[in-house]
């Protein structure tokens, strides 16, 4: 059972998103609490990314409301508490002039005022984030020369450098090999357990879901929330079914 007396980090009520009369998401309501470890799954085109983008204020909902720490998106100011790693993170422009350190330092930009310089405190957060992601020895390397798995860790280190309370990752494994993926899930669960950082990640691949996920959100126009994925075996089956069923329906529509 969730701690209902606490203010949730995200409180989503009746969120809908329509594009040219088509429902992308319909009446989504959910809450995300401090310390949770949540996976969002669902078929491609099911609206997972759109949901995340609405949570972060990158997309305006057609109706419904998102609150962060009890505040409306517009009046929320403490964005450094939220670490976002977008889908294309590991596919950076190879010519972009940035060392690994340059990128991780970006994580500190929003935390300090315009007139304050990069301080020892900032440097400590940057070093700490690089250590956690095990990229200290890549510090001076150009980010364009790294492998997919290494880039992914750099992007997460950037998000961690702002000392977030929640990490939101959209398909973090795009362009990453299997070994790095396993290592990656280990890291996420460590961050969740040891640092008490709330983790929310999207994946379209049901097979890769880690064992220690707390809750599972299935998004396919609507949300199905599965509060105990470990014990409810049927949950995963249902999810798989949900995905297939949706695909069948989708194809059916196309034929007409």
């Amino acid at each position: 059972m969730q701690l209902k007396f606490k203010v949730p980090i995200f409180d989503v009520k009746n969120l809908s998103f329509r594009v040219r009369g088509m429902d992308v998401l319909k009446n989504i309501s959910l809450e995300i609490f401090q310390g949770e470890y949540i996976a969002i799954i669902g078929p491609n085109g099911g609206g997972k990314t759109t949901l995340i983008r609405m949570l972060l204020g990158l997309e305006k909902p057609s109706s419904g409301e998102v609150r962060i720490y009890g505040k409306k998106l517009r009046s929320f100011k403490e964005w450094h508490k939220i670490g976002f790693v977008p889908q294309r993170a590991s596919l950076v422009d190879e010519n972009f002039p940035a060392t690994v350190e340059d990128i991780v330092k970006m994580g500190r930009v929003a935390n300090r005022g315009i007139f304050s310089r990069y301080s020892k405190k900032d440097a400590a957060f940057v070093d700490d984030a690089m250590q956690k992601m095990d990229i200290v020895d890549l510090k001076k390397k150009m980010v364009g020369t790294l492998s997919g798995g290494q880039r992914q860790r750099v992007m997460i280190a950037r998000a961690l450098a702002s000392s977030p309370e929640i990490l939101i990752l959209d398909e973090p494994n795009t362009g990453v090999d299997m070994v790095s993926q396993q290592r990656f899930y280990k890291l996420l669960s460590q961050l969740n357990k040891e640092e008490n950082i709330t983790i929310v990640f999207i994946t379209h691949d049901v097979g890769v879901i880690a064992d220690d996920i707390g809750r599972l959100f299935t998004i396919n126009q609507k949300a199905t929330i599965c509060n105990n994925p470990k014990e409810t075996l049927s949950c995963e089956d249902m999810t798989a079914l949900y995905g297939i069923e949706a695909h069948l329906l989708h194809n059916h529509k196309h034929e007409h």
Binding site: F84, P97, D102, V109
Partner: protein, 265 residues
């Protein structure tokens, strides 16, 4: 070699040139990385409308150029963010529109002469004391803004959406960047000329990117190329009586070719 500094106009041209090289290369780094290269061309043509108005109406052309270029940059940014138009199409429309407008104003005012020619291709002879003061005052302001917001600008250049979700005022900074770029371009038309300033903004960074180094070093290399090209170009301009914009651009292009050769894969 150094006897050229016996002439006061050369001293003025060098002060203005060094200032402009610094401004153009630093702002140019953000311009190139944000894929705004064509924007510098467009703003240079908009600045020309200001020059035309200045020449015909008898105001200081540099001042009017700064104002028109800034207004044009806001129009571009507004069109880009508010309509679903391709941004290169917007730039192309405003570029030709500005040039057409400038030509009409100049023709009606009967100002087609050498003075206009110097604004097109740059002229070290034409930099007045007033111009130097305008360049230093507006230039210092622009440089201060660039340095103050360099980290934020770098972040949003890298990934605008992530910067936005980190709490960075992306929209405000985008407007600030185009405003500063517009000012720098307008200031540069005395020394480099409006048809050639785009090169001084874009090429030093394009050359520096060949070295594949971090952000700070890329800016420093770009700054070095711009300074070298302006100094070398103005020296050539003095000795061979050539338009300074043309000799500066040829110098910066040779720097670019050298960078390509040095960093061949």
């Amino acid at each position: 070699m150094l006897e050229m500094f016996d002439y006061e106009f050369m001293q003025r041209a060098f002060i203005a040139g060094i200032f402009i090289a610094t401004l153009a290369s630093i702002s140019g780094t953000f311009v190139v990385l944000k894929r705004y290269s064509l924007m510098s061309e467009t703003l240079a043509h908009s600045a020309l409308v200001g020059v035309a108005v200045g020449l015909v109406a008898g105001y200081n052309p540099l001042w009017v150029a700064v104002i028109v270029a800034v207004l044009s940059s806001w129009l571009i940014e507004y069109l880009r963010s508010s309509f679903s138009l391709y941004s290169d199409a917007i730039l192309s429309i405003i570029l030709s529109g500005s040039l057409a407008l400038a030509v009409i104003i100049v023709s009606l005012g009967g100002a087609f002469n050498n003075s206009l020619f110097s604004y097109l291709f740059g002229s070290i002879l034409s930099v007045s004391n007033e111009d130097v003061i305008t360049i230093i005052s507006f230039g210092s302001l622009s440089l201060a803004i660039l340095l103050l917001f360099s980290k934020e600008l770098y972040f949003l250049t890298y990934d605008e959406e992530v910067a936005k979700t980190s709490g960075i005022k992306v929209k405000m900074l985008n407007y600030l960047l185009v405003t500063v770029v517009a000012i720098i371009i307008a200031l540069s038309i005395r020394v480099v000329g409006s048809l050639l300033i785009g090169a001084l903004m874009v090429i030093p960074t394009a050359a520096a990117l060949q070295f594949r180094v971090g952000f700070r070093d890329t800016i420093l290399i770009s700054l070095f190329f711009a300074l070298f090209s302006v100094i070398f170009g103005m020296t050539l301009s003095f000795h061979f009586s050539l338009p300074s914009g043309a000799t500066i651009v040829m110098s910066v292009i040779s720097m670019f070719v050298l960078s390509l050769v040095l960093n061949k894969k």
